[in-house]
């Protein structure tokens, strides 16, 4: 999603990456936060294209960390319920 608006920075994905950092997989979430700050600094340095690139990178990291987090939760659930069903607990 290109943002040609020169007044307002493109979406930074900051909030989503903070949530991902605090609720699921940390390293990818932190990569998202770092990219969020790049969006801001590049935008206010006048580099709108760079800001857009950082925005899509932040989106990528945040989406991956949410995806992996949710996949991990589902795998864990299958594992625990599998054990519970087999009577191990």
């Amino acid at each position: 999603m290109e943002n040609k608006n020169t007044e307002r920075p493109p979406k930074t994905w900051l909030l989503e990456s903070i949530l991902a950092t605090l609720f699921c997989c940390l390293p990818l979430g932190i990569a998202g936060i770092v990219n969020a700050s790049k969006v801001e600094s590049r935008f206010y340095a006048g580099d709108v294209d760079g800001a857009n690139r950082a925005s899509s990178a932040a989106k990528k990291w945040t989406t991956w960390s949410f995806g992996l987090g949710i996949a991990g939760i589902i795998l864990y659930m299958i594992f625990v319920f599998g054990f519970a069903a087999s009577g191990a607990f």
Partner: protein, 130 residues
Amino acid sequence: MLRLEHFKFFKWAIVFILASFIIILYKYFNPSDYIYFPKCPLKSLTGIQCPGCGSQRAVHHLLNFEILNALRENVILVLALPYILTGFVFENLKKSDKRILKWRKILFGHKAIYIFLLFVLSFWIIRNII
């Protein structure tokens, strides 16, 4: 015939049902008492607490209005929630005049993000030392 608005309605209906389910689940069940809640992989494997450890317990205490207990489980999460909510309000403001943009830059700009990151990383180190 199904139109785009219908899909939007279904999307929000699913989000609403899921959110209510999660809120009820976390309000009435303390994650530390049941094995069914997901555990932090980092802590399970290495014993090191990550910055997010305790978030589920903190949410449980917050939903029961036990702020102090929530702070004890994960300070960063409890302090970050109002910040995140403010951020979503700023992101969804349709009009953006100079004053809003200025505040947006102060609260969610480059410097603010690095300060937040510094807090998260120092919290990570300190909680594993103490």
